[in-house]
């Protein structure tokens, strides 16, 4: 009997219910970042599960890099130990569903790591954003295992790093400010080679936050109908 099923399975004649989500069998699946150029550079985008290390100073657009990705998630997004308050109003205007957000403010770095592991392991969160300083190799490995269990992605948002040793992460990005958006350095990518530096153009998504030379605002000409519309709103 078992042989027969094996044989039929071999011939692809058995339909399996779990085939729709072959989660335990995937190798290195990627999800789109929402930026076509970046997807090309990363051969498909962010890993669908695992640990992504993002080294950047706060306030240059590191969260905006992830927003198109977060917009597409259907499970929860846990935000752990953010450096300031997460502005739901801003997320709302950028088309992100704030109902999926879980903001966690732990009391110590240990608790932050514990919370991240719980969120990942549960399978209830598809993404976890963790602001954290230096991490040990074994801590990252633990997070990686938790991410595999729950099929989630954790982004380590790190600024002012002192350690130099490389961590066992799936993807490591270093972000620097640039006039057009962000300068992205891929320092590590599992199963791929290092890439040259790359400038991510965000001027179409956030024109106000890219340093472009623009005509002064005073010269704006507004049609009468539009002005009325704005006045009525």
């Amino acid at each position: 009997m078992a042989n027969l099923i094996d044989f039929l399975q071999h011939q692809n004649l058995v339909w399996q219910g779990t085939e729709n989500a072959p989660a335990s069998r995937q190798v290195y699946e990627t999800v789109s970042t929402g930026f076509d150029d970046l997807d090309k550079l990363l051969h498909g985008g962010l890993p669908s599960q695992g640990v992504v290390d993002i080294q950047s100073q706060i306030g240059i657009g590191e969260l905006r890099l992830l927003l198109p990705y977060l917009r597409k998630q259907t499970r929860m997004c846990a935000v752990i130990h953010p450096p300031a308050l997460i502005n739901a109003h801003a997320l709302f205007h950028q088309g992100v569903d704030t109902g999926q957000f879980l903001v966690i403010r732990p009391n110590s770095p240990q608790e932050a790591l514990w919370a991240a592991e719980q969120c990942l392991k549960s399978g209830a969160c598809s993404s976890v954003l963790l602001w954290h300083g230096d991490l040990e190799v074994h801590q990252v490995k633990r997070l990686q295992l938790a991410a595999q269990t729950g099929q989630g992605l954790i982004c380590l948002m790190r600024s002012c790093i002192t350690q130099l040793a490389s961590l066992p992460v799936s993807l490591s990005l270093k972000l620097l400010p640039h006039a057009l958006g962000l300068k992205v350095q891929v320092t590590k990518r599992r199963g791929g080679w290092a890439k040259p530096d790359f400038v991510l153009d965000m001027s179409s998504n956030w024109p106000e936050l890219t340093a472009q030379l623009k005509p002064s605002r005073g010269a704006d000409i507004v049609t009468f109908e539009r002005a009325l519309q704005q006045a009525n709103r």
């Binding site: 219910g17 779990t18 729709n20 989500a21 072959p22 989660a23 335990s24 100073q57 706060i58 306030g59 240059i60 657009g61 590191e62 969260l63 905006r64 927003l67 499970r75 929860m76 953010p82 450096p83 300031a84 308050l85 997460i86 502005n87 739901a88 109003h89 801003a90 997320l91 709302f92 205007h93 088309g95 569903d97 704030t98 109902g99 957000f101 879980l102 903001v103 966690i104 403010r105 732990p106 009391n107 608790e111 514990w114 919370a115 719980q118 969120c119 392991k121 549960s122 399978g123 209830a124 969160c125 269990t149 729950g150 099929q151 989630g152 400010p177 956030w206 106000e208 936050l209 340093a211």
Partner: protein, 471 residues
């Protein structure tokens, strides 16, 4: 005539103390102004202590004596617990005083094959509760009670034999006022049998009507109304620890005992609960109340134990612990499984389960959801709410034109201290005059020297502040 079963519990309070099975200490319970011994365990009995002894005499008899004061309230509570426990097998239970339960048997015999089988079921139930009891059957509530209190302890439903047994009881065993009792003794009526032999009419002539009523009810000739117990839908248990605990790690075992009881309680009713309340009774201090919640309904003792442990890790005791109580008042129905049968389950928990664990460890306030609210002032445009409660709100582009706001807002507005280049602005926000938080600000998007995008504003007095970061 209806058949009744009476269960008499002579030492309820003693039985409900928390004991380690192997090392029992002589324990007594004293009551009243004279501190007479009313309940004592077998070790105390072996040491020579007898019922009715004064506290001084008892303490002189045995040096390592553990003394508790009689607590009527606790006894009554325990009796109600027992009634609730037996309610699963018997529909009609009457709470008689603080020490007895009266069960109406005749109605239940249609469900059980015979009285023996019924009694075995009850016995098995009582076994689990670890209490001492005396029992008797009777054809009137009072007869059953008198026989049980006289330690009849025989399952006999023969009315002749019961009557005979009842007749042997002395008059002093009957619940009569002292005056009445003496009156009977004076005319030479010593036993119940002698009282029964007097015709009712004569009895009425010679004594007052109260005695006639009593005898009539005792013999089942007059109706004896009893009110039956209705179980409430709450779970409340208290455990008195025999030793004071100073370390919260040691509470796990007694706690688990209570949680197991909760599990049985919920399982039998096919219910779940979302929150349980612990009360830690500390010496000379206010009891410490702890509420433990689970966003998902749960009944299993080990799951609750896990959550309790996370909460207890954060708890500090002020004084040594003397007892622990568990109460659950809200119950919920188990919800239907709504997940896809075929999609592969990933992870170990549901969202609600995750939330329960996080809140237990980090505290309720540390885990929150966010939602936008309709307010033009940036600091009020984001409100924190209970997680998983906010509705899905997606911007529909037809209605609104998106406005640019920073993803991160500073918890407090800070004076601007670094040199910045203004990139865009101003955007004037001037509102809030009606509720005391008036703002009048010109907001600018600015970039500082390390190329960070900041959201700064200038107030009416031309002072500059930093309010957000375009992360």
């Amino acid at each position: 005539m209806a058949l009744w079963l009476y269960l008499h519990f002579p030492q309820l309070q003693l039985d409900s103390l928390y004991h380690y099975k192997d090392q029992q200490q002589p324990t007594i319970i004293v009551a009243g102004r004279g501190h007479c011994v009313v309940q004592l365990n077998s070790v105390a009995h072996e040491a020579g202590i007898r019922q009715g002894m004064g506290l001084g005499a008892a303490a002189a008899t045995c040096s390592s004596l553990c003394v508790h004061e009689y607590d009527e309230e606790q006894t009554r509570r325990r009796l109600t617990e027992l009634a609730q426990w037996l309610y699963l097998n018997t529909a009609e239970i009457h709470l008689s005083g603080t020490t007895g339960l009266l069960l109406k048997v005749s109605g239940m015999l249609t469900m059980y094959r015979n009285i023996t089988e019924y009694w075995h079921t009850l016995q098995a139930r009582l076994q689990a509760q670890n209490v001492r009891y005396h029992f008797s059957l009777g054809y009137s509530p009072l007869a059953a009670q008198l026989l049980a209190e006289a330690k009849f302890d025989t399952l006999c439903e023969d009315s002749k034999q019961l009557e005979h047994r009842l007749g042997h009881l002395p008059v002093s065993a009957l619940a009569l006022p002292e005056k009445q009792h003496q009156g009977l003794m004076r005319v030479g009526i010593q036993s119940a049998q002698a009282l029964f032999e007097i015709p009712m009419l004569e009895l009425g002539k010679r004594f007052n009507t109260e005695l006639v009523h009593y005898v009539g009810r005792l013999r089942g000739k007059l109706h004896h109304p009893v009110s039956f117990y209705q179980p409430p839908e709450v779970f409340e248990r208290q455990l008195t620890l025999l030793y004071e605990l100073e370390n919260l790690d040691w509470i796990a075992k007694p706690l688990f005992k209570l949680l197991i009881q909760l599990e049985q309680f919920l399982k039998l009713r096919n219910k779940l609960t979302k929150s349980i309340q612990f009360t830690l009774l500390q010496r000379d201090c206010e009891p410490l109340k702890i509420e433990i919640g689970s966003a998902e309904g749960e009944y299993r003792a080990d799951k609750w134990q896990g959550l309790c442990q996370l909460v207890l890790e954060r708890t500090q005791l002020v004084a040594p612990l003397q007892g622990v109580a568990l109460s659950v008042t809200d119950f919920c129905e188990p919800d239907e499984l709504s997940s896809d049968l075929f999609s592969e389950r990933c992870g170990t928990m549901t969202a609600a389960g995750l939330l329960a664990v996080l809140q237990a460890k980090l505290g309720e306030d540390a885990v929150q959801g966010i939602k936008p609210s309709a307010d033009a002032r940036p600091e009020f445009a984001t409100t924190h709410c209970a997680p998983l409660t906010s509705q899905t709100q997606i911007l529909s582009e037809v209605e609104f034109e998106p406005i640019l706001r920073p993803n991160l807002l500073l918890p407090q507005i800070l004076p601007l201290q670094q040199p910045v280049t203004l990139v865009q602005g101003p955007e004037r926000i001037c509102t809030g005059w009606w509720d005391g938080h008036e703002v009048e600000r010109d907001y600018f998007i600015a970039q500082d020297e390390s190329k960070r995008w900041l959201w700064v504003f200038r107030d009416r007095q031309q002072r500059w502040y930093l309010h957000g970061v375009f992360s």
